[in-house]
Subunit: 333 residues, 4 copies
Amino acid sequence: MNVGIIGVSGYTGFELIKLLLNHPKFKINYLAASAESRVEEIFPSLNSIFEFDVKVADAKEAAKKCELVFLALPHQEAMKYAKELLSLGVKVVDFSADYRLSQALYEKNYCEHLDPKNLENAVYGLVELNRDKIRSANLIANPGCYPTASILAIAAFLPHIDRDFGVIIDAKSGVSGAGKKASTTTHFVSVNENANAYNPIKHRHSDEIKEQISLLASTQIPTLFVPHLLPITRGMLVSVYAKLNSQIEPLEILRKFYKNEKFIRIINKPANIKDVAGTHFCDITAYVSEDKIFINSAIDNLLRGASSQALANANLMSGFEESLALPTLTVMP
Amino acid sequence: MNVGIIGVSGYTGFELIKLLLNHPKFKINYLAASAESRVEEIFPSLNSIFEFDVKVADAKEAAKKCELVFLALPHQEAMKYAKELLSLGVKVVDFSADYRLSQALYEKNYCEHLDPKNLENAVYGLVELNRDKIRSANLIANPGCYPTASILAIAAFLPHIDRDFGVIIDAKSGVSGAGKKASTTTHFVSVNENANAYNPIKHRHSDEIKEQISLLASTQIPTLFVPHLLPITRGMLVSVYAKLNSQIEPLEILRKFYKNEKFIRIINKPANIKDVAGTHFCDITAYVSEDKIFINSAIDNLLRGASSQALANANLMSGFEESLALPTLTVMP
Amino acid sequence: MNVGIIGVSGYTGFELIKLLLNHPKFKINYLAASAESRVEEIFPSLNSIFEFDVKVADAKEAAKKCELVFLALPHQEAMKYAKELLSLGVKVVDFSADYRLSQALYEKNYCEHLDPKNLENAVYGLVELNRDKIRSANLIANPGCYPTASILAIAAFLPHIDRDFGVIIDAKSGVSGAGKKASTTTHFVSVNENANAYNPIKHRHSDEIKEQISLLASTQIPTLFVPHLLPITRGMLVSVYAKLNSQIEPLEILRKFYKNEKFIRIINKPANIKDVAGTHFCDITAYVSEDKIFINSAIDNLLRGASSQALANANLMSGFEESLALPTLTVMP
Amino acid sequence: MNVGIIGVSGYTGFELIKLLLNHPKFKINYLAASAESRVEEIFPSLNSIFEFDVKVADAKEAAKKCELVFLALPHQEAMKYAKELLSLGVKVVDFSADYRLSQALYEKNYCEHLDPKNLENAVYGLVELNRDKIRSANLIANPGCYPTASILAIAAFLPHIDRDFGVIIDAKSGVSGAGKKASTTTHFVSVNENANAYNPIKHRHSDEIKEQISLLASTQIPTLFVPHLLPITRGMLVSVYAKLNSQIEPLEILRKFYKNEKFIRIINKPANIKDVAGTHFCDITAYVSEDKIFINSAIDNLLRGASSQALANANLMSGFEESLALPTLTVMP
């Protein structure tokens, strides 16, 4: 089955290519970016492994060559291509925020929405929570990295927490989450031997998390979200704090909620970026202290937080086994 | 005025030596460790700068040579020396936990207390909060690094937070906080490209913070403390979350509370390790979101969290200007 | 075909396990270390992926369960097991130095040799140079990481350099090369923001390189080798300097020498650790300046410098395609 | 004595400010950059320490306010200001390459020289080698970081090496050497867990080193120079390789050559970035192996390789003690 990637030059594009090269059913048949190039020029480590033309993005050409297209584009750009590709009968997995939020929240956080019709039918691609809807979807909104790690941590505990108090999320991400663009923020000297919160309270992922967990809880859940930048390349660690409404045994609740989920590991020690980096796993644990709970999850921000999650969605949309070619072995040490 | 350091071979010993070499009044007249050596052998970068004998620790010898001694020893070791030094009329600044907690809490977290009499008179050396008591103290319990950054962040807000809910502290520290001892935890390959919580909920600094802020608030403040290890050498970042009992303007409260404090900087962006590393500063900011507050502080864990704080205490105990030789210029970039 | 690993608890053991889990023909049937354990306890990231008993090492038991055994043991330990395994008809790939040097040089650098008979028949497992001998070998001395990157860089140029002058090798390695043992040298605080040469001139790999290139050149080649430690986890960069005996076009010589070699990439810019980390590739380039040459190679020290090289050898010894399950995709960004 | 800095916004400008704030005689009376600003806005860690206007650079204004000006500008820019400042009777220490090379070599490596008259009288500011000339100079060409560490390593051995063979310099630098500008090269994700040579053979510092050591040797010394980028913020390590023309005792030669030099430390183990970072020291050692020598030096690239060296020059030019306010204590751990 032929697939394509539009917006291939970033980190998530590269991760997706590497996953697809190991996939037994998907074949990369189209790569596009904002300028013509060769994929092995953009990523020299692909030399002699995978050499392929990178075209200037064109939805019609993509539609001729592919049954499914991954969009690894900035928000606003993505919906233009998604709209056209869907109209041409191509399935779409979108990495951007364009189809993740309700229209009102989207327009509050980003910009005017140009494709409200498809937005209504888009499925939020968090596999463990929406598996059935994903199978029949034509358009997947691939979740953000912070929302993935946060929602997977919180979901099991929604019946057990004080919903008036809500959740406090202290999240830590590697620098690859900020993208490939050179800036003061991503300069080695700024990042190395440093750590800091950024956009506290008002990060765009805050509303994405809040909307999704409120949907799950069928009530508004106040959400305080503070992301931090860490001096590491890849990986994400999330600490969630909440107030309990009753005494619980947290690991039992997690084990029951994620029973039979192959890519969620319930662990009995604090979560660790090294144990998930390079994989599709989300490791989760939780500790209770009096009336409060500390929930702790770790993912690879570029894989489970982007590219391998996109692939899991694409597998389901295509009628394949969900776990096909999903990475399980860490890149570490 | 002659001073000494017992337990000189660790990171905080080294930082203290460097500070004392720039001090106009204190003169290092005694250095001790568990084995005889030379200070320039333990720290080769001191070659041709400061070359001095390191003795096997002996309280009597120290008392002959010094009016004030800094103890950079493990807990339990420290109180043995403190007791003897005090009995010989020497002032003591203790880096360990031995005199930081009430006896009951100490014995719950550490071991039997061997010097309860002096414990009663020890002053908790957080200068901004206990300045007057410190001036007349003979024994200072130099605060832990996590408690320093946490208490300085919380103190101003104690009247404004829901005391039933208490505080949630998500703290991040550089590896030097774990000490110089080689272990799996401090191995470069374990730490690099990684991050993780450790001892969540039950870290010993939790009770130290709780006891101090409860004293300040004159009521028990529930405290949930989760420390994290970051892949950096020095520096500490603390995020405190609490529920407000009224609408407040957080920066105004901070500015008023820390008026005229030279080493507390109230900033209007997230705190940043690079801006304080190498200095005695504690940078603090805070953000309100609906009924919650996010308070954010940064310190150098080895200086404000240990050695420069000890020096500030020693300055006060000796009748000197508090700020004498306290470092103000970052080591960065 | 059943294989085993003795000495599984280090970094190279872990890398080898991950490679074998993707191998279509080899099946792990025996794992051993110095103490009984479970592999998923030693490497928690293997939880739910590969769970297996780790036995106390026993050659007879290994021989019952495996046709080929990888020894990831310290030198001296390795030859004891190799000797017994070979006597029981098991093929051996040895990661240690025990069979890499002639007896005289081995005993100069290490200790008395306990298995001189097998030493005579051991094949130095640098696949590009000894492919045919490897196919029929029962015992492979898997090359050291420094020798791998150095010899692959130099080999093509041996006819073109001044053999009296010899070669100067300035090599840089990540910390995983120093092994998993906690020590002052591998403490995060010692390594981070630092870099230094170690064992200059007298590192044991110096004689290994010298002996191998002297064999290739059929004459003694003076070799000055200086290894450096870098603050990275994995990867190795080697700079070789030599004097030319004639004008050459260095990239042509490399391309010709390594024609049809899938895992040697001749590049026309400086070599880069990120482009090879996680792979079996060795990237090589060279620059001429007047009568001197600068040759530059990069490998993953744990893969091409240990575990994937061992697997390439095992593939050949077993009559399989050499490239079976050798990794080609970087772990980066 | 009033001094100024033009081009204050980079790393070396910041280091120089910190040094000057501790200087007993120099007073910062003028700061300039390409745009108007405040120094505490450019460097937030200076808040409450040193708050000062940053002007748009203007030589006449600088001349009114200062007796000596440091130019931390890009090459070509620097000579415009130097020329005007000198004509107004102001002493100049120039951080750029504009006055470091003879006109012919300068124009080969950079661009047309706009101030050849002053170039003739400029003094190369390597204090240990040109102390007397510096005392009476009005214009100092402050050496590059690579040339500083390389020349200090080589100088003592020039009488003992084969001058036809010359020297091979394998140099490693932290990222701050590449400047504050955001680029793909300085992106955290590009640098972290990576290392690579850059501009091998043809880096501009190559001719600077060659010219200086050839002047010292009174004959042309072939120089092969390969710089490498390391994933650290500050520090530089240089390995020099050469062929000896006689048997020597290298440490004795170094000790004799640098007798009474306070800021050169001859050490008997490999040089180490941590031991010099934050200081004006250059640590040097050397090892002989048969007919070859390995010389190894370490400096702080921003201090001894730029700002503290500039200050040492300014001290001498102003008739002060050379060592005034030069940093001696490392920033580490």
